[in-house]
Amino acid sequence: MPGEFVDQIFVAAKRWILSLLSHAPDWIVQIASALLNIILLLTFFATLFALLSVLERKILGRIQNRYGPNRVGPFGLLQPLADGIKLLIKEDVVPIRADKVVHFLAPIMMLLPAILALGVIPYGRNMTAFSIDGGILFFFAVGSAAELAVFMAGWGSNNKFSMLGAMRAIAQMISYELPLLIVVLPVVMIVGSLSADAIVAAQEGYKWGIVPRWFVFTPWGAAAFILFFVAGLVESNRTPFDVPEGESEIVAGHMTEYSGFKYATFFMAEYFGMFAVSGLAVTLFLGGWHTPIAWLEFVPSYLWFFAKLAVLLFVFIWIRGTLPRTRIDQVMSFAWKFMLPMAFTCIIAAAVWHYQAHGWAGWLSSFAVVAVVYFALSRFLDTRRKFATRTYRFAE
């Protein structure tokens, strides 16, 4: 079957390469298999990073009614190459009072968790690089190491802006890690597994023959998806939550004292983090590599995954182009007063949906739970000041 062959072409290619090593001892095959996965992941996502960086500038340009990069190569597509060469040959300035080792290690430590987190995401049928029982837990476990990297960058630079930025970044990352984790719980509870493959498998098929069984099409799933996306925005330090690097207040936050390729590494870590969070959102709520419409099954599974990923990445850029930066106190109180209660509501709504046999009644009562808590919270948290009617006095 040609469709199936195209779908499994990467899996088959890997199997063929490994079959060349069939006479080698077991551990060589294991290492070769791991290396193949790593090389493929790294080259693919580094290319995607380069493409996305130019695409982002193009889209932002479009939003702001200007051209964006258009000099290097056709449509400015070779811009990342030029940027890369520029950053490589730039002088690497390290402050004299900086802690040299920590300052040097911070960008590496920053990129490492993002790359590791990419490993557990299923990119297509049988295409998970690192398929373990607790895949989702692995994702968050390595993700939590990023906070330490931010601290290393801030502290190692020996600069007040760096330290302030690092403090802000750690504060908001810790606060949003809580809702980020809790909105994943309903999915894990419904599926009954922490493995990313099992979660994707649970979203197979169509309800009434048309609507895909993705979790985003249930009331709790939709609410959890939005919460997850917002928390993901914060975790990857993107606008409107980029207070750690708020240029107008603290220069560039924890990246102030970085130049040349180290700065580019931070940039890369941010994008890889974005890929990881979007990839996990696709896996958890948007059905992973499953097809949205039944008669489009012939399109290879990985294309569907990356199509969904592209949509989410576009929304990331779109939000960056349209929303202003929030204040740090607004970010924090939003996390604890709104995100956290809503995240807990998602668990209850999912339970209601589950115990009414995933049917109409469950859908409605689950929707009711989410809606009631949402409106109650927005009433309760409404701090809009009531202003007296303004009177204007003009010079006479």
């Binding site: 607790g134 837990l137 476990a141 906070e147 601290f151 290393m152 597994s193």
Partner: protein, 159 residues
């Protein structure tokens, strides 16, 4: 394979631990301790206890390390070198180590350990929610109390 991995991880971890004990600057020591934590997690992975390994990274690298680093940052006015060898610490460490060695040497090693199913996250969850549900609830209550206590400590006083 696993013997080679064991040696590599052990060297990695011991280097981290020695650095944590000898580094003159406290922040460096704390960051080296993280290396040792990661080494321990790697051991758990090597032994097939994935869940414990993941929780080790989650709790120790993600939370405890950040806590230690912040404690150092917020309490020490002098970030200068803390030199001098701490003899008391060395005595305690040697005492703990030798008693552990003594305990291990005197443990009767039964023949082969019985074969058990691989420990999945699902099984841990089931056991936690059935046999150990009361200890779990107690821990939950304790943590909630700690959280509320922390909030009360830092909350602004209403005028």
């Amino acid at each position: 394979m696993s013997a080679a991995a064991f040696i590599v991880i052990a060297i990695f971890m011991l280097a981290g631990a020695v650095a944590a004990a000898t580094m003159p600057r406290l922040i460096h020591a704390a960051l080296s301790l993280v290396v040792a934590f990661i080494g321990i997690a790697a051991f758990y992975f090597l032994l097939g206890a994935e869940f414990v390994g993941l929780v080790q990274i989650f709790v120790y690298v993600g939370a405890v390390a950040v806590l230690i680093v912040f404690t150092i940052l917020l309490t020490r006015r002098d970030q200068e070198n803390t030199s001098g060898f701490n003899w008391g610490g060395a005595v305690v460490a040697i005492a703990v180590f030798s008693s552990l060695v003594w305990a291990i040497l005197h443990t009767r090693v039964s023949e082969a350990a019985p074969q058990i199913d691989p420990l999945t996250v699902k099984r841990i969850g089931e056991v936690l929610m059935t046999n150990y549900v009361w200890p779990l609830q107690c821990v939950g209550l304790l943590l909630t109390a700690a959280l509320i206590g922390a909030l009360i400590l830092v909350a602004e006083e209403k005028r």
